[in-house]
Amino acid sequence: MTLEEAIVVEHLPDAGGYWRIELRAPAIAPRVRPGQFVHVRLTAPADAILRRPFSVFRTEDDRLELLYKPVGRGTRAMTELRPGAVISLLGPLGRGFPTPAPDRFPVLVAGGYGMAALYLLGRESGRAGIVFVGGASAVDVLCVPEFEALGWEVRVATEDGSRGLRGQVTDAFDAWAASELSDRTPELFACGPNGMLRAVGERAIARGWTAWLSMDRAMGCGVGACLTCVQKVRDPSHPDGWTWARVCREGPVFECREIVWEDDV
């Protein structure tokens, strides 16, 4: 965990309303593990005083790349950053994805910025598996060439059917699991909207697979001090069977059996 003044190297709009920003961050970039994030200080308007968390999409020597979507005050201000600008990064933070088990078939499931969170895992997993990626429409499907370049098979699902299967990303996964999984045991790694993560976890629990979910919670400090980013997790040692975990510290990645989904407690 380091605090570093990073320099913007390149910053361009990508598809689906996303932007890619490449930063020179020699102290942080080489130490990022798959699924970890950085906490970024933006020169945002007065009503967004906190840092903002972003998964590290790619690293290359002393540089790291983020893939983000302007959704609010902080991220909209972020799009104004020009090459040469200096921004403060805190990272790498969090407990990322574990190394894929050698006796399992790695399956990645991504929605939204999920592809950004999963790419490093794909690159460092040692061997290629399959990636399922979903989006509202064809333009929302990011990073397919990157995964293909790593030798991963990519299956796309879009809600409007403009690319790949029409439907949810889990529909594409289900179809594959029903007909192509055969006797392999998958190990799932997912990042995306809550509903998707939950659906992935339910499948894993029903079939006895392992599924690692990267959770998204609004954050304060990013380092475990403020107790903002809590997520209900199972805790057999507690009389009620659950406790709060800090997504920034114990997460963002949790095995699906750890999570207590909000409306089933």
């Binding site: 965990m1 605090l3 200080r41 840092r51 304060g220 403020c226 107790l227």
Partner: protein
């Protein structure tokens, strides 16, 4: 180095000596280890840990924080490991840090405050107690400790009876006469006072028409409240002879120096830790630079150095 270039930053609070007047505020720095990789803990005046009560507590449901113009509302709700958990999980680490540790204490009853302090008082490595009577969520019956003088006195007296270590009641900001609480703390034997805690606040999502915070209401902190804190610190510090520890919206050395000029002996950095973890260390450096620039030999010369000549006494 000549004394004029290396002024003394040391401050005293009862029997305690701090190497400098800059602490980190309770609830904004965890229990110490969270920031240890980023911040040189030995450069801090003191570490004030997150509020501790008798039993482990979970705190409020999320969302627990929301940003507002130049501020942050939090409704964390005092989750924590309880006094035994704190002693077991965090005190061993803190004992190895060469910086005084002040434990922020709260209870649901007067008696609980006393018991928590008694348990901690048996331990090495705890250097003082900040008594949190001002959390909006704790009250006995319907009477919140922080805004009723009689309840406030009872808590301070009970804690005072439990320890010879420094006792620092933390005053609630939402009272009309902060000086009365400061004086009550002094009369009940407190070694110092600290203020301000967060100011009761609320935010609503106008699309869903629901409160944004899981707890409905919370407390406002950060730069937005700094001018309110300066006024309260000025009033409280003038009312007592015991030292005042000031907090509320410190971003930089200037904000800290402002607090000291109106009467604070020490300060604590809160919300700014989340934004710039090294704020407290930078504040120490900034105070040193200021003292040198103004030819002051000791940080104590800053305390209460407000110049009011020719002005109405205000208030």
């Amino acid at each position: 180095m000549s004394p004029s270039t290396e002024p003394s930053l040391e401050v005293r609070l009862g029997s305690l000596v701090f190497r400098n007047p800059v602490m980190v505020a309770s609830g904004t720095f965890g229990y110490g280890p969270e920031y240890a990789e980023l911040v040189d803990l030995s450069a801090l005046g003191a570490i004030v840990v997150k509020g501790i009560c008798r039993e482990p507590t979970r705190g409020n449901p999320p969302p627990r924080t929301v940003e507002t113009p130049s501020g942050l509302i939090n409704a964390i709700g005092l989750p924590g490991p309880g006094v035994a958990g704190f002693i077991r999980d965090y005190l061993p680490f803190l004992r190895r840090v060469p910086t005084p540790v002040i434990v922020n204490v709260w209870g649901r009853t007067v008696e609980e405050y006393g018991e928590v302090v008694e348990s901690l008082d048996r331990e090495e490595g705890v250097h003082g107690y900040e008594i949190n009577v001002s959390c909006p969520n704790i009250k006995e019956g319907s009477r919140a400790f922080g805004v009723h003088l009689d309840m406030f006195r009872r808590v301070v007296e009970r804690v005072r009876a439990a320890t010879r270590r420094p006792v620092i009641p933390k005053l609630a900001p939402n009272v009309s006469d902060i000086a009365a609480f400061a004086r009550a703390a002094e009369e009940c034997g407190a070694d110092a006072i600290s203020l301000i805690n967060s100011i009761p606040a609320m935010a609503v999502d106008i699309e869903t028409r629901r409160p944004i915070l899981g707890n409905v209401t919370g407390g406002l902190t950060g730069p937005a409240i700094h001018p309110i804190a300066v006024k309260l610190v000025w009033e409280a510090a003038r009312a007592v002879r015991i030292p005042t520890i000031a907090m509320g919206g410190i971003r930089d050395a200037a904000d800290a120096i402002e607090f000291m000029i109106v009467g604070a002996t020490a300060v604590a950095v809160g919300t700014a830790n989340f934004v710039e973890p090294r704020t407290a260390v930078r504040v120490v450096e900034g105070i040193r630079d200021y003292l040198v620039r103004h030819g002051m030999t000791s940080v104590a010369d800053l305390t209460g150095s407000l110049r009011l000549e020719g002005l109405p006494c205000g208030g």
